[in-house]
């Protein structure tokens, strides 16, 4: 009966085989050997890429600023270890296309020497603005995979009167367990990070003490899927002293960690289509982000490493491991004893939403929550059959869309029709592809179509702009010609007037 009621609050979704046990049962590995070279992309976040301020040949220390953020939505990049800058150039990106993007190549010197950091004794004496400035300067972005700059979200929180901060510990993707492990091992630090985030969103002029009555009306809810009992107990124990932080369990179901699903479940509120969650007073951060915030504020350490789940059937030693950002996947694979012959597909992220990578010579970035090396038997079949209109995809779609109809429209290139029935609301969660008995790569269709629609819109925008420029130019020329004509007429009139006067004078003489 209970599940009947709770199901009302969860739309769609699937219960995928978890396969988390192998990595979730072991502690986070901290002795990853420092790679010889690190490849640090300048864009590891949503927004504008960072601008490098070092030169080739410079010696840098761990935590030193390598590239500063540009514009409103951006994040800086710091050195993950000490060493010499070898190159600033284009290298293949950790993306299915592996197209080159700008990266800084750092040759490590093995000393791993930290730059001088400035720890803060009591961060709750800092103003909220100062908190988000420090978070921004530490290069922190959403570590759940979205990679949206955290400071921007904190600022929005101050402006928008957020009353609920949800800390996303759902980790609903199969295989991944890095958040689970972090919650088990670093619960106190995460809770401290949550308190700092709450403080960073307080909008009192002087910045009050978090938890002080009247000062901070925002409460935090840490939501953890009920398949992570140990993480739940650890977090609850750590949050006991802080009444403004509640730790709750949520049902295990993919995609429980999707922001709208989580908000609906936790607060009962629905985020209207086309709106941000902050507009209804809710904001979401990932547990890993809370931990990074704790490190950045308490110890002044920027984001230079993260915990990554390395798992999959082809991995000899699956584990959660803390690695410096910019570590090549091939080095991770060596350390975890990945059998390259068995590896049928390399995936960055989880198996539901992650992208497959063409090879392992690509770096890990801030948003990399997991690297999977899956064997053929773990993968979904690729022999596509005709759609039998079983509507399974409709049942599981958490966004309430009709994937089969969208796919049919896309197949005959009627992209506008697909947009009309909700293509833009598709979150690429992968539930429809997961469930489809005919192995139709639905998400692939939707991503292709979204890209196409975007390109067309840009092209239309461009041609419109060109048209406007031409129109403007014609109007300007017309105006000038008109002016010239008027001047000419005035000149002729003046001349006629002069001649008339002259004739009058002559007549008078």
């Amino acid at each position: 009966m209970l599940s009947f009621f709770t199901r009302q609050r969860i739309r769609g979704g699937v219960h995928a085989e978890e396969r988390k046990a192998e990595t979730a049962s072991q502690p986070i590995v901290n002795n990853f050997p420092l790679p010889k070279k690190l490849y640090i992309p300048l864009q590891q976040h949503v927004g504008k890429p960072a601008e490098p301020l070092i030169r080739v040949g410079d010696r840098v220390l761990k935590g030193q600023l390598l590239a500063y953020s540009q514009g409103l939505i951006s994040a800086p990049v710091h050195a993950p270890s000490s060493g010499i800058i070898l190159d600033v150039n284009d290298y293949p990106a950790p993306h299915p296309s592996a197209l080159p993007i700008r990266m800084i190549v750092l040759e490590t010197d093995g000393k791993d020497e930290w730059i001088e950091t400035c720890p803060v004794a009591d961060p709750f004496l800092l103003t909220p603005e100062d908190i988000s400035l420090r978070v921004g300067a530490a290069g922190i972005v959403g570590l759940g995979g979205a990679a949206f700059p955290t400071a921007v979200k904190l600022n929005m929180g101050r402006e928008n009167h957020i009353d609920t901060l949800i800390i996303n510990g759902a980790e609903c993707e199969p295989y991944l367990s890095c958040d689970d492990r972090q919650m088990q091992e670093r619960a106190e630090q995460i809770i401290d990070g949550v308190r700092l985030m709450l403080h960073g969103m307080t909008n009192s002029p002087e910045g009050g003490l978090a938890g002080q009555p009247g000062m901070n009306t925002c409460n935090a809810v840490v939501a953890i899927e009920d398949n992570k009992q140990q993480a739940y107990f650890a977090m609850r124990a750590a949050a006991e002293l802080f009444p403004q932080i509640k730790v709750i369990q949520i049902p295990t179901r993919y995609p429980m960690g999707w922001d709208r699903q989580l908000i609906r479940y936790v607060t009962g509120k629905e985020v209207p289509v086309g709106c941000r969650s902050s507009e209804i007073g809710v904001t979401i951060h990932n547990v890993g982000t809370a931990y990074a915030t704790h490190k950045a504020i308490r110890y002044g350490q920027p984001l230079v490493s993260r915990v990554i789940t390395v798992s999959g059937g082809a991995v000899g030693r699956p584990m959660n491991v803390e690695v410096p950002l910019g570590t090549l996947i091939s080095e991770l694979f060596n350390f975890c004893e990945v059998n390259s012959e068995d590896t049928a597909r390399i995936i960055m992220g989880g198996p539901m939403m992650g992208d497959s990578l063409p090879h392992s010579g690509l770096p890990t970035v801030k948003a990399t929550s997991g690297i999977l090396a899956l064997t053929q038997s773990e993968l979904k079949d690729t022999d596509e059959k005709p759609c039998i209109r079983c509507a399974s995809c409709v049942t599981v779609c958490p966004a309430g869309l009709r994937p089969l109809d969208m796919a049919n429209n896309i197949r005959v290139n009627q992209l506008d029709a697909a947009v009309d029935i909700g293509l833009k609301d598709c979150i690429s969660c992968g539930c429809c592809s997961y469930i489809c008995p005919s192995n139709i790569p639905l998400v692939q269709y939707f991503k292709y179509a979204s890209g196409e629609v975007m390109a067309r819109q840009q092209a239309a925008h461009k041609s419109e702009q060109t048209k406007r420029l031409i129109d403007d130019r014609n109007a300007r020329l017309e105006r000038i010609a008109q002016q010239q004509r008027e001047e000419e007429l005035a000149r002729l009139a003046a001349k006629a007037e002069r001649e008339r006067l002259k004739a009058e004078q002559e007549a008078a003489v």
Binding site: I347, D355, Y445
Partner: protein, 193 residues
């Protein structure tokens, strides 16, 4: 148009479901009603059921061979079997054998394969065939046997059942007639009631 030899986006893992699995699930759901129906109407119902299902698979194989493809994997997906099954469930249980065969042919050829096979059909093939049969052979399609459960004294024996299915109904053991509803409808439509 869309490269999907090696999909770049998720889901990379999948539920263990396939087209044939869904077909088998539907058949499993049909089984109780089927068994009960055969028990109610005796061996002739079983004969018709087998004839319809087998001929549906035969027509499917024939069409696939015509298209120059291997028939076995297509037959194995169970969709033709299911179509035959559904059609059999809608036929009068004592209908002659050719009703089943013609019906299956209509369902598979006209209802499904002319559109391009599995998943391309406009209507449910079995229901399309039933409508076509009803229009073409109204007498056979509206002759319903009275219930005479298997192993009861008035139920036809095996040999008798073959005669019913293959030679048609002659010496009727059971009788049918227009129901009152049919009578009322006719009278109503002629403004006589």
């Amino acid at each position: 148009m869309i490269p999907h030899l090696k999909p770049s986006s998720g889901a990379h893992v999948g539920a263990k479901s396939s087209v044939s699995q869904i077909m088998w699930q539907v058949m499993l759901a049909l089984t109780p009603a089927t068994v009960f129906g055969i028990w109610c109407f005796g061996w002739p119902a079983l004969n018709l059921f087998v004839i319809t299902v087998v001929s549906a698979m035969g027509f499917e194989a024939f069409c696939i061979r015509l298209a120059g493809r291997a028939a076995t994997p297509v037959i194995m997906d169970g969709s033709a079997l299911l179509t035959g099954w559904l059609l059999a469930m809608t036929l009068p249980p004592w209908a002659p054998w050719w009703i089943g065969v013609v019906g299956s042919g209509l369902a598979i050829v006209l209802g499904k394969q002319v559109y391009g096979g599995l998943g391309q059909n406009l209507f449910n093939p079995a229901m399309l065939a039933r409508v076509a049969l009803l229009i073409s052979f109204p007498i056979e399609m509206t002759t319903w046997a009275n219930v005479s459960p298997l192993f009861f004294s008035d139920s036809p024996g095996l040999i008798e059942s073959w005669r019913i299915t293959f030679a048609g109904l002659e010496n009727l053991d059971a009788t049918t007639g227009a129901t009152t509803l049919g009578y009322i409808k006719t009278e109503f439509s002629q403004n006589r009631l």
